[in-house]
């Protein structure tokens, strides 16, 4: 009887040992976790929201795998010159998908240059052709299509203003921001300054 009890105990223990790693591995995707960790912490003083993390690949967190609860179908940051990392406000982002559809209204960047669209506003069919326009500047259309990634920052990477062999500099449109409007901006629109993600 004692021997039977020991055997049962051993079987239970072995089963738990076998199941534990499976349960643990179902809880998280280590690749995704690493991508999130690579983005670093929030900048002090800028809470998560429309003005945070300018220039970063938004959909690492906002792509449905978390940790952000809001999901974006497209999102990114537009800067105001090739050689700065100051966000450009009021830039219209022009998007057309494979079915020739576009968002009902063009997304417009806020004062740090961020824009986003949620799936209830527009769920595009890839590939997408993208462009930017502000007032009478533009439209300027990107040379290549967006094939499958929903963040500008995936290919247009920070930090750095120079292209590499596998990335391009951040998206920019040569404009100057309205200084009056920037007074009300809750974050420093300079991504390289104290408000930014660098």
């Amino acid at each position: 009887m004692k021997s039977l009890f020991c055997t049962a105990n051993m079987l239970v223990t072995l089963s738990l040992c076998a199941i534990a790693p499976i349960v643990w591995s179902c809880g998280s995707d280590p690749v995704h976790d690493m991508e999130v960790a690579t983005l670093g912490d929030e900048v002090p003083g800028i809470a998560p929201g429309p003005f945070h993390r300018a220039g970063q690949p938004c959909n690492v967190c906002h792509g449905g795998e978390g940790p952000a609860s809001t999901v974006f179908s497209m999102a990114g940051t537009i800067f105001n010159a090739k050689d700065t990392l100051v966000g450009a406000d009021n830039v219209q982002v022009l998007l057309t998908d494979a079915n020739k559809t576009s968002p009902p209204t063009n997304p417009v960047t806020n004062c740090v240059g961020n824009f986003f669209i949620t799936p209830d506003q527009w769920t595009p069919a890839f590939p997408i052709i993208a462009g930017v326009q502000k007032g009478n500047i533009g439209p300027m259309t990107m040379l290549s299509q967006i094939s499958r990634v929903q963040s500008c920052g995936f290919c247009h990477t920070l930090p750095g203003l120079e292209p590499t062999t596998q990335s391009v500099p951040p998206v920019y449109i040569t404009v100057s921001n309205d200084p009056n409007e920037l007074k009300g901006c809750p974050a420093n629109p300079n991504a390289a300054g104290d408000g930014g993600s660098l």
């Binding site: 590939p127 040379l143 990634v149 995936f154 290919c155 292209p163």
Partner: protein, 185 residues
């Protein structure tokens, strides 16, 4: 069954297995597998011709898709991934000859034997992942990129079945379609 019997049965099975292996023919080191490959000059283009590579780079080789170091069917291009240590950057100089050749190898190296059978006319082009994936006949993260009958499809499939000994007229026909396909988007 006693331990001794078990041992003898195991030993006998081992000897039989060893005998079967030793009966295999001596490998023929001079044997070759002939692989037929699609025409390189039509792929590379040149002069007035954009070549098959331009269409593949535009539609498949963006930085967010096959223009990434870790991806299968890796493609280099002027506006996408550049060859490491080549001294050129994304958005910079035009495709280097080595990059175009690497793209050719990526295309035919995806399924070398199957590519050979398609080039020989033994199998349909849709047996190739290179065609089935962008048609969305097989699971493809990038979805459908070409449709049967459009210039992109014609460029790709006619190139695959264009033998190196094709006439200049046949080549011109494929080149014309690839020139149109290479301008999209």
């Amino acid at each position: 069954m006693s331990l001794r019997t078990l041992f003898l049965v195991g030993l006998a099975a081992g000897l039989v297995a060893l005998g079967m292996v030793s009966c295999a023919a001596t490998p023929d080191v001079s044997a070759e597998t002939v692989i037929l490959t699609p025409d390189y000059s039509t792929f590379a283009g040149g002069g007035m011709n954009l070549g098959v590579h331009t269409f593949l780079e535009h539609r498949c080789g963006t930085l967010d898709c096959h223009g990434q170091v870790g991806r299968p069917f890796r493609l280099f291009s002027q506006d996408g991934l550049r060859a490491a240590d080549s001294g050129v950057e994304t958005g910079g100089a035009a495709d280097l000859p080595g990059e175009v050749y690497a793209n050719y190898l990526a295309a035919i190296g995806l399924q070398p034997e199957e590519t050979s059978r398609v080039v020989a006319g033994d199998d349909p082009v849709t047996d190739l992942l290179l065609v089935a994936k962008p048609l969305d006949l097989q699971v493809h993260k990038g979805g459908q990129q070409i449709s049967v009958g459009d210039v992109s499809y014609d460029c790709l499939t006619e190139w695959l079945t264009l033998l190196p000994r094709a006439t200049s007229t046949e080549r011109a026909g494929v080149n014309a379609k690839c020139n149109k396909a290479g301008l999209i988007p």
